[in-house]
């Protein structure tokens, strides 16, 4: 009995991670001619020129760079902004994560009627549903204090730096 349950959970977890791993390999195309680099850096060796509208498979991301494999099997790094991903099954993957996120919470919102705007449908904006909407003051319960935010950043190894806006 327990064994069955465990294997079911294991299968569920496996399919979840499977999805994540699959999502790492994605089809993309270039939107501009770019130099294929040996390393994720503009100063790395140029190992080939990739034309506009070339199809590549994206293997990995590192900062502003994607490691790709070209149609003739060559591997190298391209600037992140030189690529656009192919339309794919992203939506179905996110739905899986979405239901995971809401386990134990309220029922999923009606889907398929999302004619809306920024998370809120036109319909909803016009005739508010006042039920179950917390007051603005209730949001204070989730608020972080500056010191909490600082130690949270520290735990993540985040270090602030000064950088003016680009002009």
């Amino acid at each position: 009995m327990n064994k069955g349950l465990y294997s079911a959970i294991a299968a569920l977890l496996f399919s979840f991670y499977g999805f994540s791993a699959l999502a790492e390999v994605r089809q993309a195309h270039t939107v501009q001619e770019s130099a294929l680099r040996a390393e994720p850096s503009a100063s790395a060796a140029n190992v080939g020129q990739i034309g506009k509208e070339s199809q590549v498979v994206v293997l990995e991301r590192q900062g502003g760079w994607y490691q790709v494999q070209t149609s003739n099997g060559q591997r190298g790094w391209l600037p992140l902004l030189s690529l656009r991903f192919a339309k794919d099954a992203q939506a179905s993957r996110s739905n899986d994560l979405g239901s995971l996120l809401k386990l134990g919470n309220q029922a999923a919102p009606a889907s398929g009627v999302a004619t809306g705007i920024r998370g809120i449908s036109d319909e909803e904006l016009r005739s508010g549903n006042a039920n179950a909407s917390p007051s603005v003051q209730a949001l204070d319960a989730f608020a972080a204090s500056p010191s909490e935010a600082r130690s949270f950043a520290q735990q993540g190894g985040l270090r602030r730096q000064n950088l003016p806006y680009a002009r």
Binding site: G119, L139, A166
Partner: protein
């Protein structure tokens, strides 16, 4: 002669500059100018700065309250707390760190994030599920923080409601809030605020405001120590979703095309790559763990 006049002016100027530190100047006159009045005028100027922040806050509270009446808050306190920590850390690297920032996850499958005046930032659970790392979340929140810093929504609501003065808009907002709580103020005047807010959030901001928030957001996230490419990564992912995906239609309706936004970010990232120093974090594992947290 001319020198004498100059000296008189200079000493008067010196007096005025030091007035903020003076007290009990009522009735004291120098060369026919009532210093008491001048001092209180200076006092009003500094009060006005605080007053407009308070008014912005009142307008923001009532805007947030209108939006909250249309959408449910995700019932997941640990996740709400996590998003608030990321958000506040990011906001502290902006030009308005002292605002009482509030970050809210809405329970919606749609892909959306938006800001309200005074430091409110909303993001849907549907958007959270499409992101892969804390750096991506930080990039999106930084974009919204930039809207608040630049007062994009405040200015747009003001324009929509056709109130010349911030004080008038704040009054409208308070009346709308009172009417909502069952007060007797309901009427055309109170509707004007609610209608202006609804119109703005269904229409979206001007393209220029969105481009500006993208450019500022990428820099703010970098200041916070995150991988600068978080925002670009999210935009790229959203670009992969089919256009007929109902969850995304709203996002596309109120934002400029994703291709256009990525293109305009190119010089910003060139600038960041050249000028940012030190290590940056992506924090994929911490993000995935936060998404799995249960109440």
């Amino acid at each position: 002669m001319q020198t004498a006049i100059f000296l008189k002016c200079a000493s008067l100027l010196g007096l005025i500059v030091s007035l903020s530190a003076c007290q009990g100047l009522e009735g004291m006159q120098i060369q026919g100018i009532d210093l008491g009045k001048l001092a209180s005028a200076g006092q009003n100027l500094t009060n006005m700065g605080q007053k407009s922040v308070d008014e912005e806050r009142v307008i923001g509270q009532n805007t947030a309250s209108i939006l909250l009446s249309k959408a449910a808050v995700l019932n997941n306190p640990p996740l709400q707390a996590y998003v608030n920590r990321v958000g506040l850390w990011v906001a502290q690297q902006s030009e308005r760190p002292e605002l009482p920032w509030r970050f809210v996850v809405l329970d919606s499958s749609q892909v959306a994030a938006y800001a309200a005046p005074g430091g409110y930032v909303f993001i849907t659970s549907g958007m959270l599920t499409r992101m892969n790392s804390e750096a991506e979340l930080a990039g999106v929140l930084a974009h919204e923080v930039a809207h608040v810093v630049q007062q994009h929504h405040l200015k747009a609501i003001q324009q929509q409601a056709q109130t010349g003065l911030l004080t008038d808009l704040a009054t409208l907002a308070v009346q709308a809030g009172a009417a909502d709580k069952g007060g007797s103020q309901a009427g055309e005047l109170t509707d004007r605020f609610t209608r202006s807010v609804s119109d703005l959030y269904s229409r979206g901001l001007d393209r220029g405001d969105e481009y500006e928030a993208d450019a500022m957001g990428a820099v703010i996230a970098t200041r916070a120590g995150y991988d600068p490419y978080g925002l670009a990564g999210v935009l790229q992912t959203l670009g992969t979703t089919r256009q007929n995906d109902a969850a995304l239609t709203s996002f596309l309706k109120v934002h400029p095309g994703i291709d256009d936004r990525l293109q305009r970010l190119q010089p910003v990232y060139l600038y960041i790559d050249k000028n940012a120093a030190g290590p940056s974090q992506s924090l994929d594992a911490r993000y995935q763990q936060a998404l799995r947290s249960k109440r």
